[in-house]
């Protein structure tokens, strides 16, 4: 099956590591040009250098998603550098955290507003092009409890609602919007890597709940994202794909 990704232009935000980087790698391998960013300059540099081996155009610059003006400027820069944008996948997240009220603001800024600003930053170009595919990241923690009542879980839930309404609103312009919700994903330097090292028992209890007896790998989510981002998913719009190895108990009706 041809995904039709070759020559497409993708903007990936928060893509220097983990699932984000993995998506960059899958898309670059499929022939996409890529503009990516993350907070740390070093890791952006490393990611750009590593991705260049696939022979497409890969550009990157660090930016702090909480600095709205810099961040919007980065998105304009990325569209310009790629000369358009076909795909947007924002991965920004403040991660978990409970207790301090500040976690709500962090999640709002990073999980929600950084995504909102990214979508708003590309929608005009996509509308002009009458073509575009946006994939937002949810989490299985929106539908099943994980780690206590956290702003992260609730804020991520808001993205899923918003994504569906974006899909309805912009469909007429050839823009598709879908959501992928990964379950626990393990990679070096990721949260589950740390949990495995610091909370052995909790980690083991999560493994026992995994039908396949392991956690997911970033590339297993990346391929699902790449599919939804591609023309091969031309009839998927407003969908929510749970990619969790069967981890959540509920039936995805």
């Amino acid at each position: 099956m041809d995904l039709g990704l070759s020559g497409k232009k993708a903007i990936l935000i928060g893509a220097a590591r983990g699932i984000g980087y993995s998506v960059a790698e899958v898309l670059a391998r499929e022939g996409c040009d890529i503009a990516l960013t993350a907070r740390s300059e070093d890791s952006v540099k490393d990611a750009v250098a590593n991705l260049s081996k696939y022979g497409t155009k890969v550009v990157g610059k660090a930016v702090n998603a909480k600095q709205a003006d810099d961040y919007k400027a980065w998105i304009s820069w990325a569209i310009e550098a790629l000369d358009g944008v076909d795909i947007l996948v924002p991965f920004t997240s403040a991660g978990g955290g409970m207790g301090s009220e500040k976690y709500w603001y962090n999640a709002f800024e990073t999980d929600v507003m950084a995504v909102v600003r990214a979508v708003e930053g590309v929608i005009e170009t996509m509308t002009e092009q009458q073509r575009g595919s946006i994939v937002l990241l949810g989490t299985t923690s929106v539908s099943e409890a994980m780690g206590g009542p956290q702003p992260y879980n609730a804020m991520k839930a808001s993205l899923i609602t918003w994504a569906k309404q974006l899909a309805l609103w912009h469909g007429k312009n050839g823009i598709r919007v879908n959501v992928v919700s990964p379950g626990p994903i393990e990679f070096e330097g990721g949260n589950w890597d740390m949990i495995k090292g610091t909370m052995e028992k909790f980690y083991a209890s999560q493994l026992r709940q995994q039908p396949m007896g392991r956690l997911g790998r970033p590339e297993e989510v990346a391929k699902a994202i790449a599919f939804l981002a591609s023309d091969a998913a031309s009839w998927c719009n407003g969908s929510h794909l749970v990619v969790d190895g069967g981890f959540t108990n509920r039936t995805q009706f």
């Binding site: 991660g95 070096e188 090292g197």
Partner: protein, 454 residues
Amino acid sequence: MKPHVMGWDREAMDVKRVVDVFRVDPESVGNGTPVERFPDPELGTALIPAARYYSPEFMKLEWERVWTKVWLLGGRGDDLNEPGDYICTDIGKESVLIVRQADGSIRAFPNVCLHRGNRLRPEGRGNAESFQCMYHHWTYGLDGKLDHIPDLCTFHQGGPPGMTLTALPCVEWNSFVWFSLDPNVEPFEDFIDPLKRHLEPYHPERMAWKRDVTVEWDCNWKASVDAFSETYHVQGIHPQLKWYLDDVNVQIDCFGKHNRYLIPFAAVSPRVAMPSQIPPAIQEIMVHAGMDPAEYEGRVSDIRRDVQLFKREHGAAQGKDYSELNDEQLTDDYHYTIFPNVSVNVHSDDIMLFRQRPHATDPNKMYYDIWMFELVPEGEEWPERVRHQTFKHGDKSIGQVLDQDAFNLPTVQTGMKSDFYPGLWIGDQELRIRHFHKVLDDYIYADGKQPTDL
């Protein structure tokens, strides 16, 4: 800011990253704890014979040539606030009373009645006006003098010589009391040198008892000293600490009889990838310092330094005087072994001290004393003295990290007795173990005595 030379090639170790940690400039510490790296002693690479961990002969030599010759930690000065307050502490077959005198000084003497040898007091603490033996009521003053012998006229030889218990050397230093079983022991100043300058800036007298526990462990006391003398085992038995401290960039210094290492805390081990989220244990450090991890905008790798700067700025307002400590000391673990048996983690806000005592008769057993103290901020009430608890290994948890330390000591002890185990094969990260055993050997084999003279 220059990384210390650790003495090993950090790149060739089992690490994921090479990390240079912030270290304070040795020139900048003034009269504070010295931070410069001392030249490594030439200690060779020989095996450390295993027999010393289980041989009754070696245990006897340790008793004769170490325990009865050195200064030993007896307790805390603040347990001796009032005249008549005493600490009764056991070491091997001996037991010692350390008593606050009316004039504010302290005295120590053997806890044994000169009549028929009864112990005067059980191990522990208390207050007494005099020490009256339970058996026939011989009565000793706080100064150890025999004040009264019932029916003295029936002892035709009179009372024991001088009518007094033997006076044992004792001193009070840095809020702790020390004693020696050797009346001719070297001056405490010489013994403790050079640690006064190292440890006094922590002001332990501003810290209150937080925990006072004794656990009987099924291993030789030296197996415990060894276990607290290296960070090499972090990757083995404390995997979770890799998201709490840097077990690779550890500075080791040996001086005289004592040694130390300096471990960066609030750091992530080079043995694991740097996480993007703040590890929970490091969050706790931040919260304790008065920071809100949710507010933190920096990178995880900057937290150690930022906690130092935060504490430097806000310590005084929190009633915590850090003026004599350098920035590293505001986060890091400075860990000293005071020969022979004290392992002490000193921190700006607390002290975690382990006293490792031999069993009276069995080289395969020891007593592990956990003494923890916490800084009482100025203006806050001094908390009530915690109760002393005693139990056996495995009966109760002593906390995740110490449980992990304790877990394999019994199997180390049994393993070492194997005919196929000649002795400890020690690496550079374990230099303090080698140094500790060298000092031990200097005591055991002093005066030209040889291992073959056992």
